[in-house]
Symmetry: C2
Subunit: 316 residues, 2 copies
């Protein structure tokens, strides 16, 4: 395991390691959304990523980083869904079982995805405590090796590759936005911007209903989430002890948004960009729409984190 | 007006003429859909086109082809929606009014789009007769010049540019599929394949509930549609007298699909490709799913015609 915050080389190595297994996702622009926001937006489409979310990057990097003998009893994790599917797929690349602990309120489409990649699911109550306890129980039985969804430097280095690609393609961006849940994507994004686009800003966006990152960031103290109920199901988790210090050092600002703002931004992306994103992906655009002054005229990269939604249960 | 079937040069000229005004849309692939169909599919994403549909190509070509004096009283058309929006936008480029006759059962999102581009709408009964009568009435008042949605060689030449781009990017395709309504897209596609990918096949797909093209094609005789009720709202129109002869000569086959097949194919595209397409766009994939033997192992281009759907009124 990498023992320190991923450096420039660790991120480049991760990007090279996972390249054969992931998509280099497109960056889309939309004249109608630019007009509405009075900004110049570049959307990095991780909704088109393998398994439908950026999580394939980190999970693939972590699993490919393991030695063969470490994989003999399978891998295990807890996840509300996207990391679970990504890990199940990555485990398949290494021909080892994936044991997945999922909160019982995970979306149906995410549960189905995990099953389709051969993941073996155990459900639990939707609290961090229950997730960790259930994981320990299954791990005691299987001796599988844990791959945490975000509190793992190999995961962070993998997630960093999304912003790295965006920066390579658009070096002239003024700032980059990412949503924050556990902080894997955000900390990886912040590191890539620090190493490969020095001087550019990273602004995070978070649901006000799950604002542990916002409070931790501005109160300079780790404050865990307590079973938050936001529609952005990918962002209900607490920040990690490894992700928080990176975020504190390399992120400029965290903006919170209300639930209606998330749904409106999601619908705007669907209607005008003709792409499917899940609510978590819409959180940065919601922040931008709520605070246009910060972004006016700025070349802003936005990482669309995923596209796994239950089409039979849309929020409008 | 171009008096004969568009030749190779007319299509190349149209492509060059409209290039500054339209998107060169991406071609997407999807491992999951390939696996399900046992074919190799290349989706030309006209759902990402300006105004959300391929119609921007033909309408822009037609309007840009007009002399200034021809535009002094505006332009007029009848359309269930996508041509209407495309023509309204093209009229704006030439600073002339667009009078749009729309059937009363046009989808709300398409009506809103026409309004947003400044089109002046007159509603009518959803029959070809009513559309043509209403058009004549408004034209008598305005003296606007008519741009028919598909029965116009300038339109056909413009629509042909979508397949031209697809062929340029993927010259190794075995066949290309397009949906057929009035036949503008299909006849343009067939001409581009004839000129620029000689020997490759064009297979059309049509809703069984609006199968006038299928019946006309196989009975060698023009048979008009009689107020068909398919969910594929872009394909409810009758073939044109100019499009039918081209289709008869240059299209290999027309396959009809039932309504459930269209909805299933549409949902498959949404779920696995994470892009928004309207029902008409899903008709070729529905045909492919219903007749896998024809397409097994074939490199098949599919033109996704548009992405304008009412998100509050989905068919599942």
């Amino acid at each position: 395991m990498i023992p320190t915050i991923p450096g420039r080389e660790a991120i480049l190595e991760a990007a090279i390691r996972i390249r054969p297994y992931i998509h280099r996702t497109p960056v889309l622009t939309c004249a109608a959304v630019n007009l509405k926001t009075d900004a110049e937006l570049y959307f990095k489409c991780e909704n088109f990523q393998k398994t439908g979310a950026f999580k394939a990057r980190g999970a693939t990097n972590a699993v490919l980083s393991l030695e063969k003998h470490e994989l003999s009893n399978g891998i295990i994790t807890h996840s509300s869904g996207n990391h679970a599917a990504a890990l199940a797929l990555a485990a398949r690349y290494r021909h080892t079982p994936a044991y997945i602990i999922m909160p019982s309120n995970s979306s149906k489409v995410k549960i189905e995805a995990v099953k389709s990649y051969g993941g073996q699911i155990t459900f639990c109550e939707p609290t961090l405590e229950a997730r960790e306890e259930t994981l320990k129980r299954v791990q005691a039985r299987t001796a599988a090796i844990e791959i945490h969804p975000y509190n793992d430097y190999r995961i962070i280095a993998g997630q960093a590759s999304a912003a790295l690609e965006l920066i390579e393609e658009y070096p002239g961006l003024d700032l980059i936005m990412a949503p924050v849940g556990g902080g894997g994507l955000l900390s990886g994004t912040a590191l890539s911007v620090h190493y490969f686009a020095a001087g550019k800003k990273v602004i995070a966006a978070e649901p006000a209903e799950a604002d542990d990152a916002y409070r931790s960031f501005y109160q300079h103290n780790f404050i865990p989430a307590l079973n938050p109920q936001t529609i952005a199901d990918g962002l209900r988790t607490s920040l990690g002890t490894l992700t928080f210090p990176i975020i504190r050092e390399f992120v400029s600002e965290i903006i919170t948004v209300d639930e209606n703002g998330i749904v409106d931004a999601m619908r705007l992306i669907w209607e005008r960009m003709k792409i499917i994103v899940e609510p978590s992906s819409a959180v940065p655009l919601a922040a931008l729409l709520a605070h246009p002054d910060i972004f006016r005229g700025k070349k802003t990269g936005i990482i669309l984190s995923g596209g796994n939604v239950d089409l039979s249960n849309l929020p409008w």
